[in-house]
């Protein structure tokens, strides 16, 4: 078990680095936010390994939860999320609702 901890830590740090670089390099804003959320989750595990569980709780709630939601809402307001897909989803949903109403 004690042998595994340094390996686990190395994996975490490498994936943290990969996530950070990928956030900066990704072209689509949507992908960027998802990778950023993954970064926050890895970071919260790193906080636990650094023996600060209170920061880990905050990082998981704020970094992965609330910030991601706020970023998505901003994207939606700026119409940067795929519009065709949104229309498609809405149409599918409306037809589903109609079916439900018929039942």
């Amino acid at each position: 078990m004690e042998l595994l901890i340094p390996i686990f830590r190395m994996i975490l740090l490498i994936s943290l680095l990969v996530c950070a670089v990928a956030t900066a390099l990704s072209k689509k804003p949507m992908t960027m936010i998802i990778i950023f959320t993954a970064y926050s989750i890895i970071m919260s595990v790193v906080w636990v390994l650094l023996r600060s569980p209170d920061l880990a709780i905050t990082e998981a709630a704020v970094g992965a939860g609330v910030t991601g939601v706020l970023f998505f809402l901003t994207l939606r307001k700026l119409h940067l999320i795929d519009k065709d897909k949104e229309e498609e989803l809405r149409a599918a949903n409306e037809s589903k609702e109609e079916k439900n109403d018929e039942k």
């Binding site: 650094l50 600060s52 569980p53 209170d54 709780i57 905050t58 709630a61 704020v62 939860g65 609330v66 939601v69 706020l70 809402l73 901003t74 939606r76 307001k77 949104e86 989803l89 809405r90 949903n93 589903k96 609702e97 439900n100």
Partner: protein
């Protein structure tokens, strides 16, 4: 001569007098009529344009090279700074001094909090935390000013893409998860002086729970539960309570005016211990929760009702 010209142009570019994007847009605008014009004129404009294009290309190259150089220098400075940081958990760092020793040795008896961090941020350094709570309050005000479109004419409502409360998976998962999240947030708030966590973490979890509720069951339903008026009242009451409570302990903590605080630290480890730490944790948590929730509402709807 050439060098002088280049340096002049470079300084103009640096100070923002030469706008590259404007030039490109102008080029696009002039492109259409130039096709209709006579051959000679067209050739002339062609030459001018090719010259301009060269300029633009050169400028872009400068921009790229400079940005790379800037990034490399910044990375170098930051990496060099890491070498000056003390090793993690070593005992001879500058932070390990008599203040730290006092906190670790006497913090538990003086504040009554088993969680030393809570004792520090809400007892020894409570005014810092008060400032942080006011930062959050100010942030909410700023977002309200920026995003509030109550007085503008109503735009076409951005209707929901997916009605999540009809989705069987989301519906049943939300019914299980939302109460759990809210109870966990409340547990972290109330246990702030005993276990890791405290005002900010617990409040963030509570806020995330309410945001999830609003996402699944719709904003109108969520605003019935946590309306604008309630948020205002809760935030202002929490901040005022914090101010009053900390002023009281600041006043009675002074040895010279002869007044002693009636609030005792209690037995460390009990749920009702730590003096003012638990109520202050709850006040901070409520402020954070309301901030997160109102951020979501303002970003989503542009208003709070």
């Amino acid at each position: 001569m050439m060098k002088n010209k280049f340096s002049e142009k470079f300084s103009a570019w640096l100070s923002g007098e030469v706008d590259l994007t404007e030039k490109i847009a102008e080029e696009k605008r002039t492109e259409a009529p130039s096709r209709i014009s006579k051959k000679e004129e067209a050739e002339e404009t062609k030459i001018i344009r090719s010259l301009e294009k060269k300029e633009i290309k050169l400028s872009f190259k400068e921009y790229k090279v400079l940005s790379v150089v800037f990034c490399v220098i910044l990375i170098g400075i930051l990496t060099a700074t890491v070498y000056f940081l003390p090793t993690f958990a070593s005992s001879d760092v500058p932070a390990v001094n008599e203040v730290y020793e006092h906190y670790v040795a006497q913090g538990r008896d003086e504040t009554g909090a088993v969680n030393t961090v809570a004792g520090m941020i809400l007892d020894y350094r409570a005014f810092d935390t008060l400032g942080e709570s006011f930062v959050l309050f100010t942030a909410t005000c700023a977002v309200l000013i920026l995003m509030d479109d109550k007085h503008k004419k109503p735009k076409k409502e951005m209707h929901e893409t997916v009605n999540y409360s009809r989705d069987p998976i989301v519906k049943s998962m939300a019914a299980i998860l939302i109460p759990l999240i809210l109870v966990f947030g409340a547990y972290i708030l109330v246990n702030g002086h005993l276990s890791p966590g405290g005002g900010f973490s617990g409040g963030a979890i509570l806020g995330a729970g309410f945001i999830l509720y609003a996402m699944v069951y719709g904003d109108e339903q969520a605003l019935k539960v946590l309306s604008e008026r309630k948020i205002k009242v809760v935030t202002i009451c929490s901040l005022s309570f914090y101010c009053l409570a900390k002023s009281y302990s600041f006043f009675t903590g002074n040895e010279f005016n002869g007044v002693h605080s009636v609030i005792s630290a209690g037995t460390p480890g009990d749920i009702l211990s730590g003096g003012l730490i638990m109520p202050l944790n709850i006040a901070v948590g409520l402020v954070v929760c309301c901030t997160m929730y109102s951020f979501y509402m303002l970003f989503k709807r542009g208003r709070m009702n």
